[in-house]
């Protein structure tokens, strides 16, 4: 369970509140620059909010013991230093949270990077970097997943894989929060953010309302429908 409670940062976020519940995929939607990444970074303790709280299972991220076993996060890039191999990167991550070494090979297998495990992260393509980032997120087998723009840089096969992966995660009872400026994936709940404010919240049907499609609703809510 993720809950964001009246989180503000001057000029970026204004009293943003929403929740993401277990067993559901929550889509955090908004145009580029709406404040999605800022919110996610605050949730993960990377940035500090001016006011408000963001918690995971009622605890701020920074006070989670062995956080990788609670939350898996995918941000921009892989998070791996370019000169380190994928395996070396995952191994230090595993060590930091006392995860068994065998998990490294398991997650490499899960994202299809086993053959490239000995390659330096700097030599990875964009799609491979994203997969390495995802492997890191899965390392602790966390019940909560926070994914910032997970479809960026994926090829069509990768997008399909990611969609299947997300719904499997929800079926298994995980909490999935994913931010995106696209609407191209199945979600159970939707939060729409624009100019740092939450402008709509609910199931896709609720948010769609009288509009012809969720896309139309999104465009009119975010004031992007004029063209």
């Amino acid at each position: 369970m993720i809950s964001i409670d009246r989180v503000s940062r001057p000029g970026i976020l204004h009293e943003v509140s929403f929740e993401a519940r277990p067993g559901r995929v929550t889509g955090f939607l908004g145009p580029n620059g709406a404040g999605k990444t800022s919110t996610v970074r605050i949730l993960l303790g990377l940035d500090r909010p001016a006011t408000g709280t963001a918690t995971i299972n009622s605890q701020p991220y920074a006070s989670l013991p062995r956080p990788l076993t609670v939350v898996g996060a995918l941000l921009d890039g892989s998070g791996a230093h370019r000169a380190r191999t994928a395996r070396a990167h995952l191994r230090w991550l595993a060590a930091s949270n006392a995860l068994p070494r065998a998990r490294v090979d398991e997650v490499l297998e899960a994202v299809g990077l086993t053959a490239s495990a000995g390659k330096r992260a700097g030599r990875f393509s964009l799609g491979m970097s994203r997969r390495l980032g995802l492997a890191a997120a899965l390392l602790g087998d966390p019940p909560v997943l926070v994914l910032d723009e997970p479809f960026n840089g994926l090829d069509p096969a990768g997008i399909q894989w990611m969609r299947a992966f997300l719904s499997r995660c929800a079926t298994e009872g995980r909490t999935v929060l994913l931010s995106s400026h696209l609407l191209d994936f199945p979600v159970d709940d939707v939060v729409v953010i624009d100019h740092g404010r939450v402008v709509a919240r609910g199931t896709p049907a609720e948010v769609q309302g009288d509009h012809d499609s969720l896309e139309d609703a999104f465009l009119s809510l975010t004031g992007a429908a004029t063209w």
Binding site: D47, A62, S78, G122, M162, C169
Partner: protein, 220 residues
């Protein structure tokens, strides 16, 4: 991507929590372990160590020929201490280079002061091993000062320039102008361990404290 299934949530390989009393220590131990792994798998650090040791050997030979009777290794280290400084800087700044590793680090170890401590402990351990042949703990002090500067400036070139200018240019100039300041300069301990020990401890500690506070306060 392949169609391999995502790991099942029931597996929970190691989810049992450690007992609360030793939790902080366990956590620190894990973080140190991770930092040691990081230091051990970065090619630039290996190069820095290798070049430093090679340069020290070469200059020690030159010093021995130029002025037999003096301690050639210490003479060589007057210059090659720079390598240890660079080592410390890289250990800190590689987090901020491409790839955004600092975010992965903070996601794995979100308590930032603990992270700063783990980094310092790991660096001390590695540099102590590297400096063992030279037989002077002073080199650990130089490396830690480099790490402090790296953590504050978050930019390798800037931190290397600042650190080397401080140790190799500013300090000697101050020393020649105010010989009585020796006990306060961070580099006195290399040639006069008895006189400069306190400064060799205080300077890096001060820099590391500033770096830790800045890590804690700044957004990543």
């Amino acid at each position: 991507m392949t169609s391999a299934p995502p790991p099942s949530s029931s597996a929970g390989p190691a989810r049992a929590r450690p007992p609360a009393r030793s939790a902080t220590l366990t956590e620190l131990g894990n973080a140190v372990h991770a930092e040691l792994r990081k230091l051990g798998t970065l090619p630039s650090l290996r190069w820095a160590a290798l070049l430093t040791l090679a340069a020290t050997a070469l200059l020690a030979l030159a010093a021995h020929r130029a002025a037999p009777g003096t301690d050639p290794i210490r003479t060589a280290l007057r210059w090659t201490q720079a390598g240890f400084l660079v080592f410390g800087v890289l250990a800190a700044t590689h987090e901020y280079e491409s790839g955004g590793q600092i975010r992965a680090t903070l996601l794995a170890v979100p308590r930032r002061l603990g992270l700063a401590a783990a980094k310092a402990i790991a660096l001390v351990a590695v540099v102590a091993v590297l400096a063992a042949p030279a037989g002077t703990p002073y080199l650990v002090s130089v490396a830690l000062a480099g790490a402090g500067l790296g953590g504050i400036l978050r930019n390798t070139v800037a931190a290397v320039a600042a650190g080397l200018t401080l140790y190799l240019v500013i300090c000697p100039v101050i020393l020649s102008r105010f010989p009585s300041s020796a006990a306060w300069l961070p580099d006195t301990a290399l040639l006069e361990p008895g006189r400069g020990a306190a400064a060799a401890v205080l300077w890096p500690v001060a820099l590391l404290v500033v770096a830790a506070v800045s890590l804690r306060r700044r957004n990543a």
